[in-house]
Structures are given as structure tokens and as C-alpha cells.
């Protein structure tokens, strides 16, 4: 029996990364509700245009792809001020209730990432009622055909924003747009704009460091248009096969990987088909990145581009995974294959891989971005010392060890790890409940690559059913710490909150094939490459819940 989701009830940004569907431009707007009744009215009028996850195209049950999309989500304060009753509010998760700023110690938002360096809107948030971010509205705009593709997108966006502003005006101050999103020259905007990075005016799917972004977005049960994308994006099951993740990992009111409904607020109508979203503005220090890559690349045996690939686990030019193309020679072969492949073939080449043949990290290092964010089945790993075979260990209970020479085994090669077969319930047991849907786009332009202080980075929006179990865990344990990867406190290379304190210099080990004669390369004094500039935790309600919030009829009794 195949599960089919009620796509008309789910907001479109939960299911679709709009960027991948031809929407290169986005605008994010934060609102403060000054008057609950007017706020509810406003939510009602927005909800009429909210983009759902319905299938696009011709045919029954499908809709024409819209010129622009609009989606809406709420903070805890927002729901409270819109009149959601306490008996419902207490059902939201503690981290959602406290908000991102209060969770900074857990998230490692310290030093240059600490709230005092956030954009004014995020600094002011949760300080006074008038400045609290209550609602986040996101608009994505469709590109046109031909040379004017971007202009058309911007026109679409402006049209959407104009309509949206009209709806805000109708509230006569009941709902106000908050400013304080920093722009290029330190000016404060009433919105955060984002768009794909251009290369000589041509669209790319890269971020400002030059990496292709968003390839391995998780695939879960019930989304009809993701069926061919499950390889490498679902969960790894025995035999190197893949299955879609349980819906409840990403949507409330659905069964999750533990075969239960994720903790959700009551009533069910409020939470079902809704989910949590983590919004983060991440600044990219391009000058520091370039300098560090140049400096280390000149020493790294494989050269600069391979080193750049080692940081992330994918080559910068086309996103080729290191597991499939670990060096220049295999990369050339991969490129030829990639060029000849059809769309499905290209997608498989990018996404369909495991770490089963790279358990020691000789190809894709343990501290690289993609291995840390989504280790697939690679945490079911072990290094065995010399000793008895299982049978020998059993016999040693009854017989003197000197009789059991033939039941001894040599230890694993030093520096190697292998799959600990059958140790876990499923191969990906430690990863499957830590997955995140990634939405969002880059923002700003890099005008001067020799400076860090421009206005450029990414707006990342991560969707999950449990912020604590999924986003916060990955951020804390896998990005800012390395014990699960046998790497001590070594952090993920790109996103890690590398310390400026010389008592705690940051390093990473780039492993080599244990059977080679090479030495691992040690990245030293890794600088902070990415800094947090703000963010918050939001709840994305279903369309049903949106209508209930708008009418003020949420009532769990």
C-alpha cells in the first residue's frame, strides 16, 4: 500500500525546494502582530493565496505552476498573540517555545556568531513585545524564459510583494512589517532578499564558496514527484538499497521512524500536516575561505581543487561526490559519464552512493560537510584489534588459549575502519532520525572577494518534525563536535564554529587509504568560515490549521 499525502493541505515549501523548480528569487518578510483580531483577519486573507504542495502540470488533480508562491509560518510568540489557547501552546516543543536565541549555547552560536552580531531584526527579537518576530512570510518567484529570465522573476516577486503589502495595509497597523534585515551597505530593510548565485549572468546552483548546494535533500513517503529520487536521499537499508524515510520525520501527525506520531500540539487538526522550520541567516567569509584554501591547497598533495572537494565531500564544479570520484583521474571518468548521462542518470551519479567502500574516509573525510550532515550508514563502523574469532572466544571459556591458535584473527589494518555488520537494527539507524529538509537560497552578491565583510551568505531553512532531535542534534553533535566520527572535538570543516581562541585551535584530519603509503593531511588553524547572522524557530501549519488560526477556533477541549 503506497502512502499518499494530502498535498492540498500541506504548505508547498515543506515539500518543494522552490529553487529546484525554477524559482530563482525569494523574499522573506517578518511581521509583528499588534492586534490579535486584525492579525487573524490578515492570516485569513494570506491563507487564501498560500501555495500548497499540490502537483503542478496538466491533468486531473494538478494545477498550473504559479508565477509566485507564498508561504507563512509562526513563532511561539506569534501563535500566542494570535490567540491560540494555552492548552494548545503547551504542546509545542520546548526549543520552539524558547526560540533560537535562547538556544545559542546548544547551537554553538558564539564569538562572531553570537546574537550581538546578528542583524538588528534578530537581535531585537524576543526582547520587547513590539519587536518580536511573530510571522514569517516567504515569497518565491518564477523565472521567465529567454534572456529576461531573471527580470521576469523579479517582476513576479514585486507583484507578489505588492499584493502582500496591500494585505498588510488593510490591517491598519494591526500587523506591521518589521525592518532590520541588513543590506549591502549596512542599511536596514523590511525584507530579506535571496537569489541564486549568478555566473556571468547565468543561473547556477552554487553558493558563494563555489559549491553546488542542496543535492541530497531527504526523500520521504507520500510525495508523488519524488519517487525517482530516493536513491541516496531516503534511508539506507540492507544490501545498499534505499527506501523513503517515514513521513513523520518531517510532518506532524504522521508516523515516524519509531512508528509513533511525533510529539505535537493539540488538537490534531492544529498539528497534522504541519511541521517545524529552522530559519538561519548564515554569512560566508569568502575572503577567509579563499585565503585558507589557497594557503592549505599549496601544501595539499592533491592540489587546491581536490582540497576544496575534501572540505565538502563533493567537487566544486559539478558536485561530483568524492566517494565516486576520489582523485583527478577518476574525476575525469566521472565527468565523461556525467556528460553522457540523461537527467535521471545525472541525478543518480550525484546522489546514489554509500560510504560502504570508504569506511576509513580515504576518499571522503570524516569531517567533510556531507559526511557530517548525513553520514548515511557509515556510523555503523568498527576497528577490531587482534584477538580470537567469535568461535575462538567461545572455546576459550573451556580450553587453554595455547590450544586455540587457529581461532585467532589478525587485527584490522591500523587506521582503518570497517562496517560492523549487523551491529545495528538497520544500517542507517543512527542517521535516519537526524535528517533535515533543506530549503532557502543564497543572499547578496560577492563584490570583492578579498573582503569578508560584504553582504553575502545563505538563508537556510531546515524543516523537521523535532527541532531538538534533528536540527539541534546535527548542529551540536555533528557540526560543532566530532565524537560520533571518532574525531574528538574536531568540527565539520565548513560550518563548524571554529574557535578564535588559540587555546582551542581547530583542526581536521583528512584521512587516506589505510593500504596506501601516504600520510593523512592535517588541516590546521581552521578559521570561522560561516557566521550566524540571525534566525528563529517557526511552525509551518497545514492549510486546515491556518484557517483555524485565522478564525480563532483552535480549541483542544
Amino acid at each position: 500500500m503506497t502512502k499518499k499525502l494530502d498535498l492540498l493541505d500541506i504548505q508547498g515549501n515543506v515539500i518543494r525546494a522552490y529553487g529546484r523548480f525554477g524559482y530563482p528569487v525569494a523574499r522573506y518578510v517578518c511581521l509583528n502582530v499588534r492586534d490579535g483580531a486584525k492579525g487573524r483577519e490578515f492570516v485569513g486573507s494570506i491563507s487564501k493565496k498560500v501555495t500548497t504542495a499540490v502537483e503542478w502540470g496538466d491533468g486531473p488533480g494538478k494545477m498550473k505552476q504559479p508565477d509566485w508562491t507564498i508561504n507563512i509560518s509562526f513563532t511561539y510568540q506569534g501563535l500566542k498573540d494570535l490567540g491560540v489557547p494555552t492548552s494548545s501552546l503547551i504542546g509545542f516543543s520546548p526549543e520552539f517555545v524558547s526560540g533560537m536565541k535562547a538556544r545559542r549555547d546548544i547551537l554553538g552560536d558564539d564569538g562572531p556568531s553570537s546574537p550581538q552580531h546578528w542583524d538588528p531584526i534578530w537581535q531585537r527579537n524576543r526582547e520587547t513585545r513590539e519587536n518580536d518576530v511573530h510571522i514569517l512570510v516567504s515569497i518565491n518567484a518564477l523565472a521567465g524564459q529567454g534572456l529576461d529570465w531573471l527580470k521576469t522573476a523579479e517582476k513576479n516577486r514585486d507583484q507578489a510583494y505588492k499584493w502582500f503589502q496591500g494585505e498588510v495595509d488593510k490591517t491598519k497597523g494591526g500587523v506591521v512589517i518589521l525592518d532590520g534585515h541588513l543590506g549591502d551597505n549596512g542599511e536596514q530593510f523590511k525584507y530579506q532578499d535571496a537569489k541564486i548565485v549568478l555566473d556571468n549572468g547565468k543561473p547556477t546552483s552554487k553558493e558563494h564558496f563555489g559549491y553546488t548546494d542542496g543535492i541530497s535533500d531527504p526523500v520521504f513517503e507520500g510525495v508523488p514527484y519524488d519517487e525517482n529520487r530516493v536513491k541516496g536521499r531516503g534511508k539506507q537499508i540492507p544490501g545498499g538499497k534505499w527506501a523513503p524515510l517515514a513521513t513523520g520525520e518531517f510532518l506532524l501527525g504522521h508516523v515516524d521512524e519509531a512508528m509513533e506520531y511525533p510529539p505535537s500540539p493539540e488538537p490534531v487538526l492544529l498539528s497534522r500536516n504541519g511541521t517545524y522550520m529552522v530559519y538561519r541567516k548564515l554569512h560566508e567569509n569568502v575572503a577567509t575561505f579563499d585565503r585558507y584554501l589557497e594557503e592549505q591547497g599549496s601544501k595539499f598533495p592533491g592540489g587546491k581543487e581536490l582540497l576544496a572537494a575534501k572540505f565538502v565531500g563533493r567537487w566544486r564544479d559539478n558536485g561530483a561526490p568524492l566517494v565516486k570520484a576520489p582523485d583527478a583521474e577518476s574525476k575525469a571518468k566521472y565527468d565523461a559519464q556525467f556528460a553522457a548521462a540523461d537527467e535521471q542518470g545525472k541525478d543518480d551519479l550525484l546522489s546514489d552512493f554509500t560510504y560502504d567502500d570508504d569506511m576509513s574516509g580515504g576518499k571522503c573525510p570524516f569531517s567533510s560537510h556531507i559526511r557530517r550532515i548525513n553520514p548515511r550508514a557509515s556510523l555503523e563502523m568498527i576497528h577490531e584489534e587482534a584477538g580470537f574469532t567469535p568461535l575462538g572466544a567461545f572455546l576459550s571459556l573451556f580450553l587453554p588459549p595455547s590450544w586455540l591458535g587457529m581461532f585467532k584473527k589478525a587485527g584490522d589494518k591500523p587506521g582503518s575502519l570497517k562496517v560492523s555488520k549487523g551491529a545495528f537494527n538497520t544500517p542507517g539507524a543512527l542517521s535516519d532520525r537526524r535528517r533535515l529538509l533543506r530549503r532557502g537560497l543564497p543572499y547578496g552578491e560577492v563584490k570583492d572577494r578579498t573582503r569578508d565583510d560584504g553582504n553575502h551568505g545563505i538563508i537556510i531553512m531546515m524543516v523537521n518534525a523535532d527541532i531538538n532531535r534533528q536540527f539541534e542534534f546535527v548542529q551540536q553533535q555533528w557540526i560543532n563536535y566530532g565524537n560520533d566520527f571518532k574525531a574528538g572535538n574536531d568540527k565539520e570543516i565548513i560550518l563548524g564554529n571554529h574557535s578564535l581562541d588559540d587555546k582551542f585551535p581547530s583542526k581536521a584530519v583528512l584521512q587516506v587509504d589505510p593500504n596506501s603509503d601516504q600520510a593523512p593531511f592535517l588541516l590546521s588553524d581552521i578559521p570561522r568560515l560561516v557566521e550566524t547572522r540571525g534566525g528563529e524557530y517557526f511552525f509551518i501549519p497545514s492549510i486546515t490549521a491556518l484557517h483555524m488560526i485565522a478564525r480563532g477556533v483552535v480549541d483542544p477541549t
Partner: protein, 240 residues
């Protein structure tokens, strides 16, 4: 008591009954014990850092036992699912009974290196000899502790309160503590050495390595090494 021992590591489990009494300030003895233990947390380091060979240990007060009663998790519940006519009264009489303790217990659970001879007495003797003040501070409120005033009596007392483990799992290793601390020191120092000497010509590397070995003295377990219980990265290393 073989199951308390795994290789050279020992799992000591102690439950000492606390007297059902209270202080002049109307604070129960159990709460006083808790408070004394809590105050150890604000000392620069735990008194247990002074007791040789202690890997990890904990103290707490067991006030009572718990009876968790989740419905639907018993054999009778399954039977009810399968058979149409199991009376509800049967299910009710199968509900867990409620237990309560008549005393609070001071629980001390400790993992230490006991050596090949499983030397519990030696460990407890060292404990008495290094921190008898602290021992009296908490065990002084326990039944049967009156008159414990030397190491031998302490050992006897502890053995009366001891429980055997049914399974002891050693996930790290059972080396002597000095060995573990020295190894940790070497790991940290060698990581730094490897970073700062990457890419040097072989002659320099070799000379530096020689200097490194002289400085870190791998075979010398006394110094330089990590101090037991050290938290602060800049105060961690004990030099000769």
C-alpha cells in the same frame, strides 16, 4: 564476586541505609547527606580525585523505588487482546503492586582499576587514608557506621553494604589510571606535534621528534601527564 570484575577493572556498588532522623535545624539526615554531597560540587575538584585508581564514580540518595505502571504492557493485556472473555477484574489483579522503601540509602557506585588481584581492600584502604574526613561527612548519617574509625573497619562496613553486579561492561579499557592519563596526555600532545611538523624536511622532523619524545617522556607515568579530574585545558598538564 567475579561479575564485579572485568579484566583489571572493578565495579563497586554500595547501598548504605541512612538513619530516619533529622538535625537540629529540622533537616532530615537524607537531605543533609544530599546537601553535603552537593557541596563537594563547588570545591575546585572532587575529593574522589585524591583516591588512587578511580576512573569514574557517583554518589546519590535513593529515597524510594518507583512503580511505573504503563497500561497495555503486560502478558494479561496481550491475553485480553487475543481472548474475548478475559474479565477486567483479572487484569486489575495483575496490576503492579506498589512498593516503598523504609529507609533512604546512600548509593556509591564506583569504577576503578583493581589490578589482576581484584584488590578491593586496597582501593578502600586508600580511600579511607586519603579522604576519611569526607567519608565521615556523608556516611556518618548511616546505620551501622558509628564506630568506624579506621581503614579496616571501613572496609568491613563497605563490604556489608556491597552488591554484586550481574553484568559489568567495560567500554573504555581497564588500564591503571596513570596509564590512561598518560596516554591521553600523549594523544593530545602528539596531535599538536603532528600538526605543527607537517611538511617539514625529514632531518628537521626527525630532530623535532627526538625533542618531542624527550619532552613528553612516554614511559614516565608520573610526569608530564594529565592531572586526575582536570577540567581546565591550561591547568591540565602535570609537570615533573
Amino acid at each position: 564476586m567475579a561479575s564485579n570484575i572485568s579484566g583489571n577493572a572493578y565495579a563497586l556498588t554500595i547501598l548504605s541505609p541512612i538513619k530516619n532522623s533529622f538535625t537540629d535545624d529540622e533537616v532530615s539526615y537524607a537531605d543533609t547527606v544530599r546537601d553535603r554531597l552537593q557541596s563537594w560540587n563547588s570545591e575546585p575538584n572532587s575529593p574522589m580525585a585524591l583516591v588512587p585508581q578511580t576512573y569514574l564514580c557517583r554518589y546519590f540518595v535513593l529515597d524510594d523505588v518507583y512503580t511505573e505502571s504503563l497500561p497495555g504492557a503486560s502478558a494479561i493485556d496481550t491475553l485480553i487482546d487475543l481472548l474475548p472473555f478475559v474479565p477486567d477484574s483479572l487484569r486489575r489483579c495483575y496490576w503492579p503492586k506498589e512498593d516503598h522503601l523504609n529507609s533512604s540509602y546512600l548509593v556509591f557506585s564506583c569504577n576503578f582499576h583493581c589490578g589482576p588481584n581484584a584488590d578491593l581492600d586496597g582501593y578502600l584502604r586508600n580511600m579511607w587514608n586519603t579522604i576519611s574526613d569526607k567519608i565521615k561527612e556523608v556516611w556518618g548519617f548511616c546505620h551501622g557506621f558509628d564506630g568506624v574509625d579506621n581503614a579496616d573497619k571501613f572496609i568491613d562496613y563497605m563490604k556489608k553494604c556491597q552488591f554484586e553486579a550481574t553484568l559489568f561492561f567495560v567500554g573504555s579499557n581497564d588500564d591503571p589510571l596513570e596509564e590512561q592519563l598518560k596516554a591521553l596526555y600523549l594523544k593530545q600532545e602528539f596531535s599538536k606535534f603532528a600538526v605543527s611538523n607537517q611538511g617539514l624536511d625529514t632531518a628537521t622532523l626527525r630532530a623535532n621528534f627526538k625533542g618531542f619524545i624527550q619532552r613528553v617522556a612516554p614511559a614516565n607515568l608520573t610526569a608530564p601527564t594529565w592531572t586526575a579530574g582536570g577540567y581546565r585545558i591550561d591547568k591540565l598538564v602535570k609537570r615533573g
